[in-house]
């Protein structure tokens, strides 16, 4: 009997996730020592912030290490997973900062909140590293179960519980689809490990194409749900609207980033080892998803007067741009066999080109993480608890004249809107530039053109917010919530990131170049 042995080298890469989990446990334990009389939870957000920061720093160090398999191939530690963990920690930290003021303002600050945030973060970090279907499923659920609970966190009115319920039902539904797909792939290939899958797929497709395709398709559906690709996006606006705003922010940034990481990792073997016809079909599938997602996301955001819903649809649209990058990643054309023939990934000149695409995806994830956190943060600062049950808390009118009442907040929000719209000098512009360029390079010119047109439509609703803030007088009787220094700190940080990375994206290119390396056999 072969007893597998684990060494420190196996545990070192999961250190960020362990730190986050330990942070969550610490928060839960300190809650025990609180007495009802002298209760003070101000420290909790700081503890959560500290753990996120340390975990992020540790993960940043991971990105500099060579890619390798850990835990007997159930996970991989590669620069890409490290970078995604860094993104998750950035998202967590900003989200914690926004939450602190948000929850205090609503008397909803309880210890479990930050613990759940940290557990979700641990799940995300591990999901980015998962290299086996069951591991992937477990970590997906660790992340999801925490976010289900978080989205139903507020106990005011009917919306939060409805949001949590919808998210839970659809999330569990999609998870069941994913795991059934995984079981079929297991049947077709005899393995659940992605690293072994690569070698076994050609034979499986040859002997049993139906089972393989059905399994792969169902797995794709499960992941498409998490990234909110149209038509699997329907939960997004409802859940984002009902969930506490800082949680919506984390869902749009962290959940999306890790789901994309997982999507890339799972479908790499397919792009790598299947023949040109299969790879072409897969590229078309992702291209179609990207097209639908970009177009529908933008179109549905267009008529929204509810800014929170608008941001939700906008997050769908951004998933579309990212899918464009994913399609480009799989569609690298070569001179040889047919228009969309595929060579082994990440090797040779084509590998370098793919790495460029991966870097573009990573940069876009980073851009979207800071921008999304910033815009939801500004929204969280502005909304008043009295309006929430009526659903008018996020109406455009609330932004009218904000430039006079709160010039700093208005400036931050304006920067975020420009970034989401892809207007220079913001990081969103650079992100779009890189992604569209990658798509053009990969031969998906028309898809890139469609993306550019769709994002042009997007400019309209982003600018509408700016117009309201700067060109409409305030409504009568609108009061501004009291200052929350944590939220304002988050706004300052994200605005600085949006502008600085937009002006000088070169500062990160060295790190991103190192980080956009995926483990491959």
């Amino acid at each position: 009997m072969n007893i597998p042995s684990l060494t420190f080298l196996d545990f070192q890469p999961v250190l960020p996730a362990l730190l986050l989990a330990v942070g969550g446990i610490v928060l839960l334990l300190t809650e025990v020592f609180q007495s009802a009389a002298t209760i003070n939870r101000a420290y909790q957000s700081m503890v959560a912030l500290a753990f996120s920061a340390v975990a992020g720093a540790v993960a940043a160090a991971t990105t500099l290490e060579p890619a390798r398999e850990v835990f007997l191939g159930f996970g991989v530690s590669d620069p890409f997973s490290g970078a995604v963990t860094v993104l998750v920690c950035v998202g967590l930290g900003l989200s914690v900062l926004v939450s602190a003021g948000f929850l205090r303002h609503r008397n909803a600050e309880r210890g479990e909140f930050y613990a759940l945030l940290l557990f979700a973060g641990a799940g995300m970090s591990l999901l980015a590293m998962s290299n086996e279907f069951i591991t992937l499923f477990i970590n997906l659920e660790v992340m999801s179960v925490s976010t289900y609970a978080l989205s139903a966190w507020l106990r005011r009115g009917t919306r939060p519980s409805e949001a949590g319920f919808k998210y839970f039902i659809l999330g569990a539904f999609s998870a069941a689809i994913l795991v059934y797909g995984a079981s079929l792939l297991y049947g077709a290939t005899g393995t659940t490990k992605l690293s072994e899958l690569a070698g076994l797929l050609p034979a499986a497709v040859a002997s049993n194409p139906g089972l393989t395709y059905l399994g792969a398709g169902l797995v794709a559906v499960g992941l498409a749900f998490k990234v909110a690709a149209v038509p699997f996006h329907m939960w997004t606006p409802d859940v984002y609207e009902g969930a506490p705003t800082p949680v919506s922010a984390l869902m749009s940034a962290g959940v999306k980033a890790t789901a994309f990481a997982s999507l890339v990792r799972v479908f790499l073997p397919f792009a790598q080892d299947l023949g040109p016809n299969h790879a072409q079909l897969m590229t078309y599938a992702f291209a179609a998803l990207a097209l639908l997602t970009m177009v529908v996301g933008n179109l549905m955001a267009l008529p929204q007067r509810n800014v929170k819903r608008m941001l939700a649809y906008s997050s769908v649209a951004h998933a579309g741009y990212l899918l464009l990058g994913v399609a480009a990643l799989f569609a690298r054309p070569t001179g040889g066999e047919g228009p969309l023939a595929v060579t082994p990934l990440l090797a040779g000149a084509e590998g370098a080109a793919r790495q460029q695409t991966l870097q573009a995806i990573l940069f876009y994830l980073l851009a979207y993480t800071v921008t999304s956190l910033g815009s939801f943060g500004a929204l969280a600062a502005l909304e008043r608890r009295e309006d929430e049950p009526r659903g008018t808390a996020w109406d455009l009118e609330k932004f009218a004249g904000l430039s006079q009442r709160k010039p700093g907040w208005a400036l931050a929000m304006a920067a975020m809107m420009l970034s989401l719209g892809g207007i220079p000098p913001t990081v969103g512009f650079m992100g779009k530039l890189f992604i569209f360029r990658a798509a053009v390079d990969a031969g998906l010119v028309w898809l890139a053109v469609a993306g550019v047109l769709a994002s042009a439509a997007g400019v309209y609703y982003y600018l509408r917010v700016v117009v309201y803030m700067y060109m409409r007088p305030s409504q009568d009787g609108v009061t501004v919530p009291e200052r929350q220094w944590t939220t304002e700190l988050a706004l300052v940080l994200s605005t600085a990131a949006v502008v600085l990375l937009g002006v000088a994206p070169g500062t990160l290119s060295a790190w991103l170049g190192k980080a956009s390396v995926l483990f491959s056999q």
Partner: protein, 725 residues
């Protein structure tokens, strides 16, 4: 030249090159301080600070301009020999992604140097003017912050040494223009005008971006296919990126026009791209597509057909803004862009013909619309569109120096006209209807005199600057030969002549109605008052410049027949000239002295247009018919006797059809096709589709799940049908 060298020994050219960014940084800093601390500082300080920032830039620009007139001064050029008569500095990598890199580099040559002077010089005058014009406005600090920011962005656009940085300026000026058009945002129509400008510009901007993508792809594809031809291009692109402006010249040089013209070349414009996303298309085809996409971008920014609609509406902004942004500087960015792309443009006769025809059509269409406008700013706005069309016509026929020359003279006289219009409004209770003005000649003497000079200049009366610059374009349209597209060039020339005639007519009309005759009974204030010195002084300076600008049109240099300005721009367009000569796409006849025949012709046209308008609007129309006619005009007297009958005839034969055409052009093309169908229609359809899609989002979880299941089923069934035997 000797004088220059001795004067400039104390200027360290290398140090000056490194300090180029100060020219941008000064107004940027001004914008920051005015924007953030403006309210604290108070009105006087903001006025001083904003004007001083731009004036400081002007001083630095003068220094740079003096330096680049020195024969020994060169700018580094990674694509080949150093560029003479230029300063440049590369501040290092701005961003890079794989093989694609963009450097942060600034460069000033004779073209951008001239524009620097125009932008900062006219900018300073307009800042000065605004201190008086905005003296009653509460938002002064916002105004000056935007205006300074605009100047900084415009300077970035002009000084950028690569297309990406140029695009930053391009977007920046668009944003400032949007902010300034909607400056009085409490009026919804003004705010709408701002948005219209922004959105129309964005349409063009995507053309710019896609054109840049195509250029990058071409630069990427060439070295593998033609290593010997593209050696310098590849080496340069590795250093400063493929979108460097010098790289544009290097790309044009590396691509011979046809195999017949360059036997033995590995690649010509007729060859097909071998690899990459463009594989299968010819280089020439891709080049033409890229240039047409850039044309779309330029048409958005420079208000050409079909994207010109935003400019007339942009008059919603304060008048100094109209003068600076929508007449003198920003709207000419498209012309500037095409001067920079000129080495590539001369390789594509089809693109040249398109540019010329678009320019000519815009010029005539806008001039016709200007006939029936009564709002003085609208007349000037359409006139700007028309003059920009002439510049594009010049670019399209390959007369780049003439287009640049008209750009400069136009900046002088149109800024003067706009500021004059602002002064008229300021003195007449914000009245803009020229039918309700009249007789201002006596009441606003300085404004009258300067407006008259500027009108003469734009009309094309000898010997003012507008005459020479416009004539240079028309002369080129007449004499340049583009093989294969002679017909298009003839049409463009005819359009140009008709435009010149129309320009003379409508400008004289506007001038006469506002300044001549008696004061209208409908006037808002009984007596107009002349504006303050801060407003009239810039008018005088600009009027003087409108006259003196003509000096550049004369062949004053010994040993050459070239006009001074053409000679001055030779170093800028030397690559273009080489490429043109090698490709043989534009045949330029030799200079043989001044084109006196063309001068007389142009002068007669101006005289007919201006004379008939002057006559019609001072003497002829019923409202002015009470005045006695001078005896000399026998023909006019005859008409005058049969006033009723002739009036009808005139109405029927000239005014009605003209009005009809103008109205048709305005209502059908402008209002219906473009405004309603193209702009609002697209927005409406998009919004409707968006609203319809909302109906799917019923809130019912099971419906969501059903859609997911159906989509998954459909997708998987389709995939299986493709792979199952």
């Amino acid at each position: 030249m000797a004088l220059h060298s001795s004067m400039l020994t104390w200027v360290n050219a290398a140090g000056l090159a490194e300090s180029l960014y100060f020219i941008i940084a000064l107004p940027l800093l001004g914008a920051f301080i005015s924007g953030v601390f403006g309210r604290l500082l108070g009105r006087a300080n903001v006025n001083l600070l904003a004007t001083a920032a731009v004036a400081g830039s002007f001083m630095l620009s003068l220094l740079v301009f003096a330096a680049i007139n020195n024969a020994g001064v060169t700018a580094p050029n990674p694509f080949g020999d150093a560029v003479p008569y230029a300063l440049g500095h590369d501040y290092g990598t701005w961003f890079a992604a794989g093989g694609f890199r963009v450097n942060f580099g600034l460069a000033v040559d004779h073209l951008s140097g001239t524009l620097l002077l125009v932008i900062t010089g006219v900018g300073t005058l307009i800042h000065l003017y605004s201190t008086s014009y905005m003296e009653h406005d509460e938002g002064y600090w916002r105004f000056f912050a935007y205006l300074n920011l605009f100047v900084a962005m415009m300077l970035t656009l002009v000084m950028a040494d690569n297309l990406v940085l140029l695009f930053v300026g391009w977007e920046g000026v668009g944003m400032c223009s949007y902010l300034l058009i909607g400056f009085w945002y409490k009026n919804p129509a003004y705010a709408f005008a701002g948005r219209k400008a922004f959105i129309t510009n964005r349409v063009g901007d995507f053309g710019f971006l896609l054109g840049s993508f195509l250029l990058v792809l071409m630069v990427a594809a060439l070295p593998a296919q033609a290593p010997s031809q593209a050696g310098r291009l590849e080496a340069g692109a590795a250093q400063v990126g493929p979108l460097n402006l010098r790289g544009v010249g290097a790309l044009a040089t590396a691509l011979p026009y046809s195999a017949a013209k360059a036997p033995g070349a590995e690649v010509t414009l007729e060859s097909r791209v071998a690899s990459g996303p463009l594989a299968g298309f010819t280089y020439g085809g891709v080049l033409t597509a890229a240039l047409l996409l850039f044309l779309l971008g330029a048409a958005g920014k420079s208000a050409q057909v079909p994207l010109y609609v935003w400019l007339p509406d942009a008059m919603a902004g304060p008048t100094p803004v109209s003068a600076l942004i929508h007449a003198a500087t920003m709207v000419t960015a498209g012309v500037y862009l095409f001067c920079r792309l000129s080495p590539l443009l001369v390789l594509s006769p089809a693109a040249m013909a398109t540019v010329a025809l678009i320019g000519g059509t815009t010029a005539l269409l806008a001039a016709l619309i200007a006939f029936t406008q009564n709002d003085i700013k609208k007349v000037l706005a359409y006139s700007t569109v028309s003059q920009l069309g002439l510049m594009f016509l010049g670019v399209g026929v390959g007369a780049f120096w003439a287009a640049a020359f008209h750009l400069v003279t136009h900046a002088f006289f149109k800024a003067c006209l706009f500021l004059g219009a602002g002064s008229v409004m300021h003195g007449n209770g914000d009245e803009t209807d020229i039918q309700k003005l009249g007789g201002l000649r006596k009441e606003m003497k300085v404004t009258w005199a300067t407006f008259a000079v500027a009108t003469l200049a734009i009309t094309g009366v000898v010997p003012l600057s507008g005459f020479f610059s416009k004539d240079a374009i028309l002369h080129a349209a007449h004499t340049h030969v583009v093989p294969g597209f002679e017909g298009a060039m003839h049409v463009a020339y005819a359009l140009g002549l008709l435009t010149a005639l129309s320009t003379a007519f409508y400008m004289t009309r506007a001038y006469v109605l506002a300044f001549e005759g008696e004061r209208s009974k409908d006037a808002k204030v009984p007596h107009a008052h002349e504006s303050a010195a801060a407003m009239t002084a810039p008018l005088v300076v600009l009027a003087v410049l409108s006259v003196l600008g003509a000096a550049w049109a004369f062949p004053l240099l010994p040993g050459t027949h070239e006009p001074v300005f053409e000679n001055f721009l030779l170093p800028v367009f030397s690559v273009t000239e080489q490429v043109r000569a090698a490709a043989g796409t534009v045949l330029v006849p030799d200079h043989a002295g001044l084109p006196w025949g063309a001068y007389v012709q142009a002068w007669v046209i101006a005289l007919i247009g201006a004379g008939s308008a002057f006559f019609l609007y001072t003497r002829f129309f019923p409202s002015r018919a009470g005045q006695p006619l001078p005896a000399a005009l026998a023909f006019a007297r005859n008409l005058s006797r049969n006033k009723f009958y002739a009036d009808e005839l005139y109405e029927a034969v000239l005014i009605r059809p003209l009005k009809f055409v103008a109205r048709l052009a305005y209502q059908v093309l402008d209002a219906l096709v473009i405004d309603t169908v193209a702009v609002r229609g697209t927005a409406w359809v998009t919004a409707q589709v968006g609203s319809a899609l909302r109906l799917i989002q019923t809130g019912d979880v099971q419906a969501y799940a059903a859609i997911m299941a159906a989509a998954a089923l459909g997708g998987i069934v389709y995939a299986l049908s493709r792979v199952m035997p």
